[in-house]
Structure formats: C-alpha cells, structure tokens
C-alpha cells in the first residue's frame, strides 16, 4: 500500500463553528496526528476557495486522504467528495467530521466544545486511514412514473409529467379522481368554482395518451429502489364491465337501495351501484358489494341494475364472479400525493357535533353550498328553513395541544369564504370565532378586509362550548356558542341557528401503512417527512420517492399545485438524466474466509447474498444491484468474511478506538 497522507481541514462556518470551537487549535492538534501531512482551518470550506485548498493539496502535496471537519455529512459530504474527485482523488477516500450540528451548535462552553471537536477529528483521521477507493457504478432509470393519489396534487403531477411525454400510472383508491378539491364549492379568495377549474384537468387525465389511470385501485406492494421500482397494484372489482359501461347513471336511478353518500359527507344518499358525482373520471358505475342485495343474496334477490343496463355492462357474471385484479408495474420514480383526512370533531364533545342537528363540519357545508350538492346549493337547517344566523368556529382540532398543535393553514380562509357565501346565499348574520386570523397568501389579507366590510362579526376567542340549553327567551330554539371574547375580556353567549366547525386537516388514518409501503418517515404530527424542510421539500429520505400536497402537511391549493409541479420536475430530471449512481458502500465477501454457511443469505431482506459454488467451493456472492449496504450480513457472518465497503470493521473499530482510548 502506498503511504497514507492525510489532509485535514477545519471549517469555521463563519461563526457557526468558530463561535464555540477554537478552530485553529483543532487544526494544530490535527496536524500532530500520525499520517496527517497538512492541516488547515478556513472560514468557509464549502466555498470555492475552500474547496480549492483541498484540490491544490491533492496536486501539490500528494495527499491521498481528506478529512473536512465542518457540518453534518448529510449536508456537505457530496460537495467535498466531488471536490476530491475534481482534485483527482477517489471520492471515497474522504471522511467528514461533524463538528457543527453535533458539537458547536449543541454546546456553549468553548473549552468543552473544542476538546470534543478534537476527539471527533481524531476519530475521523483514524477512520479515513482505512478508507479504500471504491468504483462508482451507474444504472439506468426506468422512465415511467407512478403517482399515488388522484387529488389535485396527483392530477397536477401526472399532467406535468405526461405533458413532458413520459408515461404516468396514476393510482386512485376511490371510484373517481378529484380528491377533496372536487368536493369543494368555491375556492378562496377568488371565489371561482372548484369544479369549473378542476374538471378540465380531470378530463385531461382521463384521455391523456401518456396517463394510465388506475382508479378504484390501491398499491399493495413496492419493491426495488430508485430507477427500478416494482409495484403491485390491486385493482378492486367494480362488479361491472368497464369496457361496456357508458356512465349513463340509469343503474343508480333504478337501484332501489340507498346508502349515505361518502362524497356528500353523509348529507345525501347514493345508490348501492353508483357514480360518485356527475363529472367522475373515469365515468363508470361502481357496485358497493357490501351493501348490494343481489351480491349478498348470491343472485337470488333484486338485480334491478342488470335489468335496466342497456349497455349490458352489469350482468349476473360481473356482479357475482368479478374479483380484484393484481396489476404489476415497473417505474423509475414514485410521487406520493395521498392527501389528508378531516379531523373528526365529534371527539371534542363540547362542540356538539353528532349531537345537534345543525352543527356541521366544513366539508359538509361545502357540499351544502354546492349547486350539485344534496340541498341544491341552498343553505338550510335540518328543519328545511334558512338560518338567520350562523357561527363559524375556527381551529377545531388544530392549534390545540389536546389534538393537533399545528395550524391547519386553510381554515381561516375557508371560514371567510363561508361567511361570504352565507351572506350571499342566505343573507344571515355571521359570527367568526377565531384565535388569530392567518391570511398569508396572495389576495388573502385583501379578502379578509373585504369580509370585514361585508358586515361579518369577528369575535376573538376560542370557543368553549356549543349548547342548546337556553337561559333566556331569546335563546330558545337556538344553539348558543359560548366563548370568552378576549378583546372585551368577558364571557359571551351568541345564539345562532347553525354552527360550522372548521375542522383541522390531519394525516390520513392509514398514513402509517402508506409510510411503510414507500419507506417514508413521518413527523411527530403524523404527516410525511420531507428530506429537508426548506431546501428539499418534495424529496424524501428514500431516493426516487417524492411527496406533494397535504400528505406532507396542511396547505392550500396554490401551494399544493406548486409542490406537485416541483415533484414532477424532480421525477422528470431523473428521467432526463437517464441513469443513477449506485451505492458503492455495499457488502463484499472475502472468499478466502467464507465458509458458505448461508447466514448472510438468511438475514438479508433484499436477497443480495447467495451462496454459490465457485471452483467446487461454496461461497457467498453479492448481487450488487440488490445490496443496499445496511450491513446486517456482516454482523451475522461467523468468520468475518463479509464486510461493508466504507464501513468495514477496521474502519469502525479505528473510529471507536480513537474516541475512547485517550480518555
């Protein structure tokens, strides 16, 4: 082996490190370590002049190992690996010592932090000594993209990619795409109709030559990795012949059985065979097998839909014998846009949701004001009369440490939108009960001002309860909203006819399942975690899997659309490059030590090692495209034949030794 010559560079990161760590002392100390031939400290190592220091030392001093002590390797490892490569050194001969996130930022005693930084640098120096040059390999990227979830985020991402001429598989679990947005009546602050702006996009998805829509389907299994995912999708049986159904809706009209409509949030009913709404894409009938009398009686009762379907799309055969189908897809990247659930306000029992007839959630009110909705666009009480006064309660389940601490971001604005609609459609008195008004987007503050001028009553206070117990004649037959008006500093009771609860947006109830399916992480609030909250907001810790829309956190439509387009751009850039760099730090077998016992084969989740016969001797062999480099095989290997490149026993033992031996 050639002589090891290590260069050590201590970054000040302005005052981020130098504020708490004596960088020149650390550099001086590093210079005294064995095999270190040069040791410098510099204000910003990631800057061009900083990187040039490394490159010049490689050429002039012939250093063949590099340690930069700076931020987390999760931040700049790639930067410095590239600098090494540009200087003519294999990028794997580099090691980063994290003295910012894990040292200068978490301590304030300069002496203690400096000593800790020395330890960290010493460990990195000892470890880099054993680093070996690794070959960097590339693999092709499958140009197909999977988009999971057909709300506005999924629709936008799918269209952006398909318009770029690349194939998209859009999987939606409901009978139609459209998501929550298609349930909305109007969109704030412009008040344009949600359907009018969304349905053209939905129709585009429906007949786009590059989009294959798999509605009423769910992803069951994902394997592989960036560039080459294999996905199994369960296409649920609609119990109709999709090739014959024309979406005329006669079957639903004739179906004698009605159940509460999910789309109408329980305010209206749908047939057991149904099309969820008029503009559904795909426009196909779906049979709710659980409630279908024909299916449940094994073909002995009912059968109205069969009789009236002129297209012969519904037959005894489709109803009784159609089963789910597994579709297998191969894609290079995945965009997860699975959206949100509305918080169930019945758990806050004092608000009376589910107890009083005229307490509604935001989504129910959306359906009520929609012309195609269950009341034909009329705001009506359970009695059929128009309300004279309506309370809109903000922050139901959000900004509340008993439920969700976060702000749901859209409730203030849709609350204002409701106020406008109530004024316009029912000319009722409106009371908005708010904690703070958060109107941050384009045209939002102006909309708030406009509503103030329209005569809406704004009451600042968190609502304590909603009750029907009257304490005066004036309150009889009304719902009383009880709150402290924090601007007046006293408790008030406001009698109203209807209460709308601005329920929080929360993570999907099955977000844990989706997370493990796509190897996503979740934040403490339940939403999916982005790779970097500011600088990589649509990527995830899993390469090739992107997130967009409300599955990442509550957001309004403009932000959702922007994020969806960002995710599409990420997927397109991957396709455009065409190849990905494979992990080099993977398992490696020393065949002279391997006994061929097969323990590595047993423990590996990715089926990378396989015991094979080589010249009549059984030894383990690694499939390099399957190996992820987790290292479990090396731990169970009884002879030490298995090791992980870049994380060898020698390397880690050297690092551990350096961290303990001097204490």
């Amino acid at each position: 082996m050639e002589d090891v010559k290590i260069g050590v560079y201590i970054c000040h990161c302005g005052l981020n490190i130098a504020g708490t760590v004596d960088c020149s002392a650390v550099a001086k100390y590093a210079g005294s370590l064995p095999s270190v031939v040069v040791s410098r400290d510099y204000r910003y190592m990631c800057s061009d002049p900083g990187q040039d220091l490394i490159k010049n030392d490689i050429t002039r001093l012939g250093i063949n190992r590099v340690v930069v002590a700076s931020c987390s390797p999760r931040m700049h490892e790639l930067t410095f690996r590239n600098a090494c490569q540009e200087g003519g050194l294999n990028p794997y001969l580099y090691e980063q010592a994290n003295i910012r996130e894990q040292c200068s930022w978490v301590h304030d005693d300069k002496k203690v932090a400096t000593e800790k930084a020395k330890d960290i640098v010493r460990a990195a120096v000892k470890r880099v000594y054993f680093h070996e040059a690794l070959e960097v390999k590339e693999a092709p990227v499958n140009p197909n993209v999977l988009v999971v979830g057909g709300g506005i985020a999924g629709i936008q991402a799918a269209l952006d990619i398909a318009n770029g001429g690349k194939k998209v598989y859009l999987v939606e679990r409901e009978a139609s795409i459209g998501g929550h947005m298609i349930q909305f009546d109007r969109t704030f602050p412009t008040l344009d109709c949600s359907e009018c702006i969304l349905t053209p996009k939905m129709a585009d998805v429906g007949h786009h030559p590059f989009i294959e829509l798999l509605a009423y389907s769910e992803v069951e299994e994902v394997s592989g990795s960036i560039g080459q995912f294999k996905v199994k999708v369960n296409k649920k049986a609609r119990h109709i012949d999709e090739s014959k159904c024309v979406g005329c809706g006669v079957c639903e009209q004739k179906c004698p059985w009605k159940v509460p409509s999910e789309f109408e949030m329980g305010l209206g009913k749908r047939g057991v065979i149904y099309i969820p709404f008029a503009q559904a894409i795909p426009n196909l009938a779906t049979v709710d097998a659980e409630h279908c009398v024909y299916i449940q009686s094994d073909g002995k009762k009912c059968g109205a839909c069969i009789k009236f379907c002129e297209a012969e799309a519904v037959t005894p055969e489709t109803l009784l014998n159609q089963s789910d189908q597994i579709v297998e897809l191969e894609v290079g990247s995945i965009i997860v846009t699975t959206g949100y659930d509305q918080f169930d306000p019945s758990v806050i029992s004092q608000y009376g949701y589910g107890k009083y007839d005229n307490v509604l959630t935001g989504l129910q009110f959306e359906r009520m004001t929609c012309a195609a909705g269950p009341t034909g666009g009329k705001i009506v009480l359970n009695s059929g009369k128009e309300p004279e006064s309506v309370a809109i309660v903000h922050c139901v389940g959000s900004r509340d440490q008993n439920y969700h601490e976060y702000c749901s971001r859209v409730c203030c604005m849709y609350g204002l939108k409701y106020a406008h609609l109530i004024k316009e459609l029912a000319n009722a008195e409106v009371y908005e009960f708010y904690i703070d008004m958060r109107c941050f987007g384009e045209g939002y503050e102006e909309f708030y001002k406009r509503l103030s001028e329209e005569g809406v009553n704004f009451i600042r206070g968190k609502v304590a309860k909603v009750t029907d117990r009257a304490i005066s004649d004036e309150e009889k037959g009304k719902l009383m909203v009880v709150t402290e008006d924090t601007l007046l500093g006293k408790m008030i009771r406001v009698p109203v006819d209807m209460v709308i609860l601005c329920a929080a947006l929360e993570a999907r109830s099955d977000a844990d399942k989706v997370a493990s399916l796509f190897t996503l992480n979740r934040r403490a609030d339940g939403f999916f975690l982005e790779r970097h909250v500011k600088l990589d907001p649509v990527a995830t810790p899993t390469d090739g899997v992107f997130i967009a829309g409300c599955c990442e956190g509550p957001k309004d439509i403009p932000d959702t659309v922007a994020q969806a387009s960002a995710a599409a751009a990420k997927a397109l850039s991957l396709i455009s490059k065409g190849t990905i760099t494979l992990e080099s730090a993977i398992a490696n077998v020393d065949e002279t030590k391997c006994l061929g016992c097969g323990r590595c084969e047993e423990i590996c989740t990715f089926h990378a090692p396989k015991v094979v016969s080589k010249n009549g001797v059984m030894v383990s062999s690694i499939n390099e495209t399957l190996c992820k480099g987790c290292g479990a095989c090396a731990v169970v290997c009884p002879t030490g034949a298995m090791s992980i490149r870049h994380f060898t026993q020698e390397e880690i033992a050297a690092q551990v030794g350096a961290l303990t031996e001097l204490s």
Binding site: Q102, K116, P541, K628, V656
Partner: protein
C-alpha cells in the same frame, strides 16, 4: 477533584438517529458534551464487537440507536438490531457491567428533542453509577 464526566459512545443510524442528532443541533437544543457519535448506515450494522471495543476502551456507556420499526430505510433493520442487542446485553451482563451502561434507543429523524433528552438522562444515570469498572482495570498492569 473534578466531577466525574462519563463518556458515552452512541452508534446511530444514518437515516434516523444521526439525523435526529443533527436536528438537535439545527434547533440548538443543548445537551451534555459527554457523547461521541459513530455514524453507521443502519442499526443492524452495529456488531457486538464495536460495542465491546467501546467498553474495552473505557467508555462508561454505549447507546445503540436507530429508526423506529416503521421508519427503517432498510425495511427491518431495527428487528435485526434487536436480535443482536439481546445477545449483546447478556454478554455485557456477564462481563460484570451494569445494565444501565448499555442502551437501545429508537429515535426517528424528527426527534431531536428526544435525542438530547436521552443523552441528558444517560449522563445523569452514569454519574450516579460512577466510572466503568473497565476503566480502572485497564490501568492495572496485566
């Protein structure tokens, strides 16, 4: 005499606990400087030998930390780590080290606060326990 400052080695997985330690830094959540972090790709990569090496070198405590079961970048790394850890725990016990000196933690990416809390807790515990018996034994001539 100076107060005893225990030394902790924490093996942390790149994707979760290492990132949580980074987040503690980014959020400027302070914790005692007694911990030295060794970054591994997955908690299932931690060989019992590394932990024993740390104790041999005189570490007063060792943490093996990685993702929660549902978050693992390698699907089931924490399960494999658990299996290794239960064997390791017995070995460490047999060596005569107190159980509190070896901890297994599941700390996910977003849990910087928890990372700092675990370190604080362990430093506290180890201070009560005193230096590792190996530290003094090592000093004796063999």
């Amino acid at each position: 005499m100076d107060e005893f400052e225990p030394q902790i080695i924490a093996f942390t997985c790149n994707w979760c606990t290492y990132a949580a330690a980074d987040l503690a830094g980014t959020s400027r959540i302070h914790y005692p400087a007694n911990v030295r972090i060794v970054r591994v790709m997955c908690s299932s990569m931690v060989s019992p030998m590394y932990v024993l090496k740390a104790f041999e070198g005189g570490a007063d405590g060792v943490i093996v930390a990685g993702c929660n079961y549902a978050d693992c970048h390698y699907i089931d790394g924490p399960v494999k780590c658990d299996a290794m850890f239960s064997r390791l725990k017995r070995i460490v016990h047999m060596l005569g080290l107190e159980d509190e000196r070896l901890r297994r933690e599941l700390i996910s990416t977003s849990e910087g606060v928890i990372f700092a809390q675990v370190i604080r807790e362990m430093v506290e515990q180890l201070k009560k326990l005193g230096p590792s018996p190996f530290k003094t034994k090592m000093e004796a001539p063999v």
